[in-house]
Each structure stands twice: as C-alpha cells, then as structure tokens.
Symmetry: C2
Subunit: 225 residues, 2 copies
C-alpha cells in the first residue's frame, strides 16, 4: 500500500488555517507572488493575464505557483480581499479621531484617495475587475464593498442632518465613488497633484456640490426639444 493516498486532491499548503502568530517563509513568499500578480493583472487585466505571465513576472515556475494558491481565481480573490480590507481598516482608525460631519467626509475622501494613489495597481485591480469573481469569492468581496458603501452613506446622512440638507444620498455617494475610482484611468504621478491636494480638491467639489441649492440654473428656455 502506498505511503499516502494517491487520491489526495491537494497537499494543503501547510498552515492553511491559522491565526498567523509568526510570519512564515510561506507567507512572505505568497505576498511576493501577490505583488507580482497585482502588476500583471493591472497591465493585462484578469482575463488577459495568463498563469504563464504570472510565472514569468514572479520568476517561479508555472507549477510552483500552485503550491501557494489553488487557482487563478483565488489569486484575484486574495488580492482584492487584502486591498479592500486594509482600506476599510485604515478608514475606521481615522474616523475614530474626528467628530465634525464635514471633516469626517473629508477624512473618508482623503483615506480613499491616499490609499488609491499609494497602491494604484492594486486599486485598479479592485475597481476594474469588479464582477469577475464568482460565487463565494465574489459575494465575500461584495460584502466588504457593501459595508464600505454603508459607512460612506452614514457619513453623508450625518452631514445632511446637521446642515438640514435634502438630496439623494445614494446618488451623492455613488457620484463620489465615481470621481475617486475613476482616478486610475487618468492619474499621472509626474503631472498630477499628490494625494492630499487631490483629495482636498475633490472634497471641495463634492462638499460644496451637495450643499446649497444654488442658482447656477438658467431660465427654462427653449432648450428642451
């Protein structure tokens, strides 16, 4: 009889489930691979990137990669999960230190833009490969996203209450996300403002934008056909 079953589906990479008391060599190696994969996914897209591309960029053999994760999809999941979790964590820490509703929205924007620019490639992979994960992986990321959205919506509702404003929170929040998440399509580190300036400018537009009704509207003219 063989020493171990040939039907074993996977050797289950050592410490698959653990609280990570120490960062092992395995973890460090995996993190390296994730970093390389992020670059490749960013440049060629998830579907457009092949496992052979990942192998080349990380300097590890095609088969060797599978010691660290079980599928290409899981790899994307790990990248998105880590990125999204981190940005939410940092947001929570920062929000704890601020009370004024307007300033809390500014903190939200700064946190998002700052992390976005500091981890541009990972954030592009998070934004651009939004609905490619299926089933369990997809719904877990979607859950984090829903939570992130909820936090922003609450900040907005507080702001509305304290200022006595009335507007659609949903459209405001989604417009803000649009402004911020679109950055990856145009941002040029050598020409464009840094995170602090950029988030201040976007914050100006957004906060001023949702405030007063204003009179930028024109007469009801013969425009409408």
């Amino acid at each position: 009889m063989a020493s171990f079953s040939p039907a074993t589906p996977q050797v289950l990479p050592r410490r698959a489930r653990e609280m990570a008391p120490t960062e092992t060599r395995f973890d460090r190696r995996l993190a390296k691979i994730l970093a390389h994969a992020t670059n490749v996914f960013c440049e060629k897209g998830y579907e457009g990137a092949s496992m052979r591309d990942l192998s080349r960029s990380s300097g590890m053999s095609l088969a060797g990669l599978y010691y660290y994760f079980e599928s290409k999809e899981k790899l994307l999941y790990l990248i998105q999960k880590h990125t999204f979790t981190t940005i939410v964590e940092r947001l929570r820490e920062r929000l704890d230190q601020v009370e004024d509703p307007a300033e809390r929205i500014r903190v939200f924007i700064l946190n998002h833009v700052e992390y976005f620019l500091a981890n541009q490639k990972a954030m592009k992979v998070l934004s651009h490969e939004d609905d490619v994960l299926k089933n369990g992986y997809g719904s877990e990321i979607a859950g984090i996203k829903r939570e992130y959205y909820r936090i922003c919506m609450e900040l907005l509702e507080d702001f509305k209450r304290v200022r006595g404003l009335q507007f659609s929170g949903r459209i405001a929040v989604l417009s803000l996300f649009g402004m911020m998440n679109w950055i990856y399509t145009w941002y040029n580190p050598r020409a464009d403002a840094n995170a602090k300036d950029l988030s201040r400018q976007m914050g100006d537009i957004f906060l001023q934008g949702i405030c007063a009704p204003g009179k930028t509207r024109k007469k009801r003219s013969a425009l409408a056909n």
Copy 2:
C-alpha cells in the same frame, strides 16, 4: 495557373470602402452582429468573451462571422467607434442651440448621461474596455476621446471666465467624467432616476461644486499626522 492567387489574404467583404448611399443587407446584418456582440462583451468582458460565445448569441456559425469582420479586435473597434462617434455628434448638435456657459455644461452632462442610459451596454464596453485596443485601432479611439475631453474642457474654461472662478479644469473635468462613467457599475433602471433627473442631480453637484470657495472647511486641527 489558378484562377486567383492562393496568396490572397482575404476575399474583402464586398463593399469594404464606400460612402453607403444605400443601406445594404450586408450593413444590416453586420449591425445585428455588433448589437449581439455588445451584449456579450458587456457581460463577459472583451477578453472573457469568446468568438464561440458571439457565434451562439448571434445565431451565426463561428466561420460565418468572419465574413463580416476580420478579427475580434476589429469587432470591438467597430462597437467603440460607432458609440463614441455618435455621442460626440449628438453633443455638437445640442451645443449649437445653447449659449449660456452654465447651461452648456448642463447640456454636456445631459447628453452624456442620456446616451449612457439609453445605450448602457455599449457605453460599458466603451468605458470598461478602454485600453485593450492596440496600435491603429487604439489610437483612433483615443483620438476621439481626446477630442471629447477637449470639448468639455472648453466648456469649463468658458464657465470659469464668465464667473471669474479659479480651479483646476483638469481635475474638474476628470471628476465629472468619473461621476458619469461610473454609472454603469451601479445603475438600476427599475430603482434609479431617469436620465433627465440623474443628469440634473449630477449637474447640481458638479456646478455648485466648482463654484464658490465655500466654507465647508474646518479649523486646521490635529488631524494631519
């Protein structure tokens, strides 16, 4: 000697270059295929969609498709070119009828959002598959995009001049594009506002946002670490 050279690369589909005085059966058939392809590209992404998917959705054989276009890439090009050209055309017609700078920006937003919602799938394919076209195809679409950007920037500069405002036109324009182009990630026709209401609300946020300096800022506190 053979009746025609076996080295002929392609049978060149009949009226490859013409001014289209009459809409032929060929044109109509191609348009149908483009419509089906738009749906598939929208749902699975350009890289994720296979020619066999397109064959299935359009009800035509795999080989039969190649009578109408020469490659998958050309197909994406045709979709993007037509979509982008049309939206710019309509914008020009509408802008000719309006003079007030603020109202012209509103026209820009309305035109974009209206077309976006009326052709949601095509616009997602245009926005989401932004940099997958290579070489000639890619640079032609990029040219239209640059022109579209330039038009919006001019509208903004006129607005700034007439109101005596000072802000970064680039960031404002790109924030506006972000708001609008992000729509495809969240819009739900059954729950969300129609094009006119949505563009009015985004117009309110944007125009109000770029106007006054406002006093939504807070004291310079101990926030900055």
